[in-house]
Symmetry: C2
Subunit: 267 residues, 2 copies
């Protein structure tokens, strides 16, 4: 079974092959990015905020300021940035453009990644038109669907291919990232075709657990799961309010306090 991770879990990046002693493993890891997975996700967030700041003409920023802008605690933020190198100036802060460049380099955004989107429903349309990625990008190189009526119809300025051609087209265009936005049923077949076409990274929106070889990386985004997690928090909150016999006052919605950081409601 291969590495497969939902949005939202800590996990092992599984670097060392089985049979390697722990002592040697750290040596084998020579240049391998020793950046915690959790930090990688946040670097992407910093990048977006920093790109915006750069566009607005901001040139210097402290970890505290960036902390406010990103919602990430400043100690964590500094540690995250330290993983990619020492690009700050003590007593001053970070140079915004330097940071943008270094994060882009770390995330591998200096090379172009061709993206294929499979499943041109509403979600696929949304993805196909998602041109506005922050700083540089992920050109969508190919679109696929099963529906013959869609063939040739340009979506976001691109023709739609049939899913049967996934392998050939992906290989030709050297697609590096595949996005699966199909219904659950077709997802595994699509996944297989993408892998056969040379795709090694997949973003999966279909509510299925994809089976892939070990060398393929899958990330999953599951809307139902996200809603259910929120549901859990609604329920937990309701329980707490019952337990603590707070008579009334905060059961009713409280108007006028939104968006003011620091407003604390009694619990």
């Amino acid at each position: 079974m291969a590495a497969q991770r939902d949005a939202g879990d800590g996990f092992t990046t599984d670097t060392a092959a089985p049979g390697v002693t722990p002592v040697e493993a750290s040596v084998v890891r020579e240049r391998a990015r020793a950046i915690p997975e959790a930090a990688v996700a946040r670097l992407a967030v910093y990048l977006r905020v920093l790109s915006d700041l750069s566009r607005d003409g901001v040139t210097k920023i402290s970890s505290e300021e960036l902390s406010v802008a990103t919602g990430v605690n400043s100690a964590k933020l500094r540690k995250d940035l330290s993983y990619i190198g020492s690009y700050g100036t003590r007593g001053v802060g970070y140079d915004v453009d330097v940071l943008v460049g270094q994060i882009e380099r770390t995330l591998g955004l200096t090379r172009q990644h061709s993206v294929a989107v499979v499943g041109i429903g509403n979600l696929g349309h949304a993805l196909a038109n998602y041109g506005g990625f922050p700083g540089r990008g992920f050109p969508v190189a190919a679109l696929f669907d099963v529906d013959p009526d869609l063939m040739g119809v340009p979506v976001g300025g691109m023709p739609v291919h049939h899913v049967n051609d996934i392998r050939r087209v992906c290989a030709e265009l050297e697609v590096t990232i595949g996005v699966i936005a199909t219904p659950a049923q077709g997802a595994q077949n699509v996944c297989d075709s993408l892998v056969q076409g040379g795709v090694r990274c997949i973003l999966n929106f279909a509510p299925v657990v994809l089976q892939v070889p070990d060398y393929v990386e899958v990330r999953k985004v599951d809307l139902a799961v996200e809603l259910q997690i929120l549901s859990f928090h609604v329920a937990r909150r309701a329980d707490q309010e019952q337990d603590a016999a707070f008579s009334s006052a905060h059961a009713a919605p409280q108007p006028g306090v939104a968006s003011v950081p620091g407003v604390v409601i009694p619990r």
Copy 2:
């Protein structure tokens, strides 16, 4: 600053009130969900798989079998299930329907949650039509957009309201979960309106860090971030292949091995 979590971080569930001795805490914790956040996310995954199995007539399942179906290691899986109670039978396994029921109860899916979707672009359309949530659901109760041309036009069988009416309509319909699928610019205002309308849980697709009061829970799904994380892994992999001077053989796509669990490609 309030609780706000990307898909992908651990954090504190913050159960016991301060000033309670550890011994009493477990008593106080009576009903309070002491379930690790990471486990909650996985429970939602188990639920989907189990619902499918139930529909297929499967009545019993072992942790090992469920492990294969969900891609979650069986020890972790058993521990996760133990958080919601002891519903397995030693020597036998779990009753599928019992598990479905207990997970639904734990996730708070026995109550209905009204969902409001704001921003009826491609993504909003996709969400509005996302009726097919696994086992029961999240009825979408209201749609909102800024575009006057959309007002009254039914989307997924529902009329679209103007964003100016978010507060009123959400309060009237007792919306518990708000989904923000607008462009970045409008998102914070929309968020404020939702909170004023009594919404306490928000799923945010807009690429901004929302500012909310402490009592509001935000989850964020950021497509660009997901792609960038994948990009990082592409880059890391490329580095590794350079490092380890593997001459050739596995640089070219390898056909015909997809979807077979257990197939291991030499690295």
